[in-house]
């Protein structure tokens, strides 16, 4: 009871005094509370920054890949002995041997068999295919000696990018001391460079980090999303139109409404179980295809689209409908000719957001077999495929160091697509939003 003692003697204790005496404490509390709130906001924002910084720092190096420049003698007798330029003959030549010889020519002092093997392990196993492609695209190269940029193996790539510490003890790193010596010699000659990583955007999955790319997963995502859009947009808009404009208020429509709200909150993995039990096992839809993925994702995104479309329909003022009905349009004509065009921006916004959800969804697709290891780039809706988020999941599980940066890079690509879609939704809303 400090307040009592601090009162000057002789004067009655007024409420004001009590209040004033407690003010300091109360203001301190006010500041503390405010500080707590600001801390929470800052913490939340920090998480966003941390997440993005972590992924960008881990992944930006994946957009470049290490190549070794080597003069390769494309001798006619080893590639095309008959001089026919027949593509089949060109395809069967031993390009790896040519690359190996070129590399060994740079290091004439390496004669030991094991050391030579070590030397050629600096080259990616896919380098021969890339060289073959270059030669087949331009057969005039045969018979000449050209400088080629040869794809380096993943370990060398990691070393050049600094993910493998050159100063670490030899036993602790995957690259031997000898190899570092060779690399330093090549670097001194300017024969090692990081070049833009086209493989990442043009190749499918691979066991070798340096040869793996997201093209297959991107195409899989494209086919899946396209089919999801084609299925879910008309169904979602039709359902919203019926429920909002035509449905009588009865038990059945109430049931549908409760259902839609609950489906929006059902864990996505349960939709995966549905896809597995109903679409794959019961209806025999082929596993791991964009077709079955699109069916599952359609069911998942429908609630989002229906809810957004109904909100868009609600925002169209009743006067529009009354005017159309007044000049003799049928109820359906009113909707299709007058209400739908006005509600369309809102519906499209909802659809884009639903598609963004579908693009990022992973868990239900694991259930329907999208996790198969697929090298080929899918060419249709019934080809076995994988999608971008599942590719990220698969790479994140791979132990090789080279896959970490590729995972992050794939995440960046995925986030870029999501960002673009959300931006489109925001712009669409801004551009066409109408206040009645």
């Amino acid at each position: 009871m400090n307040e009592l003692t601090s009162n000057p003697p002789g004067r009655p204790r007024r409420t004001l005094d009590i209040v004033q005496a407690s003010l300091k404490r109360r203001y301190a509390r006010e500041r503390r509370f405010r500080f707590l709130g600001a801390t929470a906001v800052i913490l939340g924002l920090t998480f966003v920054v941390l997440l993005f910084a972590d992924i960008i720092l881990k992944g930006y190096t994946a957009f470049q890949q290490t190549y070794i420049r080597l003069p390769i003698e494309l001798a006619a007798e080893s590639i095309d002995p008959d001089g026919t330029r027949d593509p089949e003959t060109l395809a069967q030549a031993d390009y790896m041997k040519l690359i190996r010889e070129a590399l060994q020519a740079r290091f004439p002092d390496v004669t030991d068999r094991n050391e030579r093997r070590l030397l050629s392990s600096m080259i990616s196993v896919g380098a021969a295919d890339l060289l073959r492609q270059q030669v087949m695209d331009d057969p005039d190269l045969i018979g000449t000696t050209q400088e080629f940029w040869i794809l380096a193996a993943a370990d060398i790539d990691m070393l050049i990018k600094g993910h493998i510490d050159r100063k670490a003890a030899e036993a602790d790193r995957r690259v031997k001391d000898q190899m570092i010596g060779w690399i330093e010699r090549l670097e001194a000659e300017g024969r090692i460079a990081k070049r833009f990583n086209t493989i990442f955007f043009t190749h499918g999955n691979s066991r070798e980090p340096e040869l793996s790319g997201i093209a297959g997963a991107l195409m899989g995502s494209f086919y899946t999303l396209l089919l999801t859009l084609v299925l879910s947009f008309p169904i979602g808009v039709g359902a919203a139109l019926y429920l909002e404009e035509f449905a009588p208020k009865n038990r059945w429509t109430d049931l549908i409404e409760v259902n839609i709200n609950n489906l929006a909150a059902v864990p996505s993995i349960v939709f995966g179980l549905l896809g597995l039990a109903v679409f794959i096992t019961f209806f025999g839809v082929p596993r791991s295809t964009p077709l079955v993925a699109a069916l599952v994702l359609t069911l998942m995104t429908l609630p989002t689209i229906i809810i957004a479309s109904r909100a868009a329909l609600k925002s169209v003022p009743p006067s529009i409908r009354e005017a159309a009905l007044g000049v003799g349009a049928s109820p359906l004509q009113t909707q299709f000719h007058h209400v739908l065009p006005l509600a369309m921006p809102g519906m499209l916004t909802g659809t884009i957001i639903g598609m963004a959800q579908a693009l990022g969804e992973t868990a239900p697709l694991l259930m329907i077999g999208m996790i198969a290891f697929i090298v080929d780039i899918p060419k249709g809706f019934t080809d076995v495929a994988t999608v971008l988020p599942v590719q990220i999941y698969l790479w994140a599980d791979s132990p090789e160091r080279g896959f970490v940066e590729r995972t992050s890079a794939a995440i960046m690509v995925l986030l870029a697509f999501l960002f673009a879609m959300n931006l489109a939704a925001v712009l669409l809303r801004r551009r066409f939003e109408r206040r009645w």
Partner: protein, 463 residues
């Protein structure tokens, strides 16, 4: 492949039927000048014809594609010589059929190719091509006869608009019933498989057993041959990770919602709110990657520095990251309910001399409490059903522990592990996943229903 071409052909027929129907309608009244004698606008006669051409044909095509494989397989199996078929179990028969199918499509075959199987594969290929041709013929015939029927029916007095509109209305009703069908599909698929599972494993063991090791042994003498399906460790693991997530998400989400709606200036609010909501738009697989490759090693090294033993897949890492993911759910839902509290309550409190924080703590939060509780319940259901973060960052071993630094597993992780990879569809192991799915579905559904009803009641209170 051919089906896509056929579909395009049907669409072309539909376009043609539209044009013809439209023209026919105009012709029947004697030219464009007499159009007022038509019941409906000419486009509706066109649509009428197009729908008659397309809908039956496309329906037939869908049915054909859906059932042709089963019928062909049935025919092939029946035509197998009795010597091949006899004495085989149903599993062996399906293996044989797989072989035939692989042989027919030129894939690798598991067993040796006998002349009988080769003959069956040829038979299969032959039936396939017959079926393709028959489908083309039947679908095209149906499309053309549909158009012809519409052509004959087109008269000035026909109520084309009403007919077309009723088809549209019916399809809209069908579309809106898909939501019901989806729920029904979910319930039926998980319930049926779960019932089959509970015939193998008693529900008592499933819900109250403390040992989870669903691996069914390949050899009968292996240890733990029968598998154990006690889900208590899964439930406690799920609970622990969810609790950690809520410990992160609720204070941060709630406090930032309060700060942004009550204290922050307009500019800060306009900038901070969308950035926080970015967290809700990031795919969960990204959080999983972040948890597994950044947060878990970080926690491990911090733990090692403090002399603590931390598992490499600790519950803490998964829970923390899941909490970050849930922040925007809590904050945006709480933001809504806080904004819904009428300004008069605030003004009354200020008039009595309360400071802003006192107003928030003693007036606004109690008034908004039901809505906040509802939003937290929704967030909990989100945490329980979240899959990718825990699949990537939490462990697989079902430990019954209360230590967040140890590795635990969750219901969703087990569903994914049980169902990825190739197993028989009927084994107890795969069926257990459906039983887990049923449990998950019921729990999250209950949470959602409770949360939504609380939020709705709360909203009505101030409207």
């Amino acid at each position: 492949m051919y089906s896509w071409i056929l579909m395009l052909v049907v669409l072309t027929v539909m376009t043609l039927a539209y044009q013809l129907g439209r023209r026919r309608a105009i012709m029947t009244v004697g030219g464009p000048a007499q159009m007022k004698h038509l019941h409906s606008l000419p486009a509706y006669y066109g649509l009428y014809a197009a729908l008659w051409a397309g809908i039956p044909a496309l329906l037939l095509m869908g049915l054909w594609i859906g059932f042709q494989d089963q019928i062909i397989i049935g025919l092939v199996t029946n035509s197998l010589p009795p010597g091949v078929r006899e004495g085989l179990s149903s599993g062996q028969i399906s293996l044989l059929i797989n072989d035939i199918r692989n042989l027919a499509t030129g894939n690798i075959v598991s067993a040796q190719v006998t002349p009988e199987i080769q003959a069956a594969a040829d038979h299969y290929n032959q039936l396939q091509s017959v079926s393709q041709w028959a489908m083309w013929a039947a679908v095209l015939a149906l499309a053309l006869s549909g158009s012809a029927f519409a052509w004959l029916r087109t008269q000035p007095r026909m109520r084309a608009r009403n007919r077309v509109e009723s088809i549209f209305l019916i399809s809209m009703i069908v579309f809106s019933s898909i939501a019901i069908l989806t729920t029904l599909g979910i319930v039926l698929s998980v319930v049926f498989e779960s019932l089959r599972f509970f015939q193998m494993v008693s529900p008592l063991e499933f819900f109250f057993g403390t040992n989870w090791s669903p691996q069914i042994a390949l050899r009968s003498d292996q240890v733990g041959a029968s598998g154990a399906f006690g889900t208590i460790p899964l439930f406690t693991g799920t609970l622990m990770i969810s609790v950690i997530a809520m410990l992160v998400a609720v204070p941060i989400g709630l406090l930032s919602a309060i700060y942004l709606s009550e204290y922050a200036s307009r500019q800060v609010r306009a900038a901070a709110k969308p950035i926080l909501e970015v967290l809700a738009g990031i795919p969960t697989v990204v959080y999983g990657f972040f948890a597994a490759l950044t947060v878990a090693p970080f926690i491990r090294s911090v733990g090692a520095a403090m002399g603590l033993e931390v598992a490499s897949e600790s519950a803490l890492a998964a829970g923390l990251v899941m909490g970050v993911m849930i922040i925007p759910f809590v904050s945006s839902l709480s933001d809504d309910v806080i904004n819904a509290v009428p300004q008069s309550l605030r003004d009354g409190s200020y008039a009595l001399g309360a400071t802003q924080s006192e107003t928030i703590r003693y007036v606004i939060i109690p008034a908004a409490l039901p809505g906040i509780v509802g939003s937290i319940l929704l967030a909990v259901s989100r945490a329980i059903g979240e899959t990718m973060i825990v699949v990537m960052a939490a462990g697989l071993s079902a430990n019954l522990t209360a230590n967040p630094l140890e590795s635990v597993t969750t219901v969703t992780v087990q569903i994914v592990t049980l169902l990825t990879g190739d197993q028989e569809f009927d084994s107890a192991k795969t069926l257990a996943a459906f039983a887990l799915g049923l449990t998950l579905f019921i729990v999250t559904l209950a949470l959602n229903v409770i949360a939504l009803s609380i939020v709705r009641k709360y909203r009505e209170q101030y409207e």
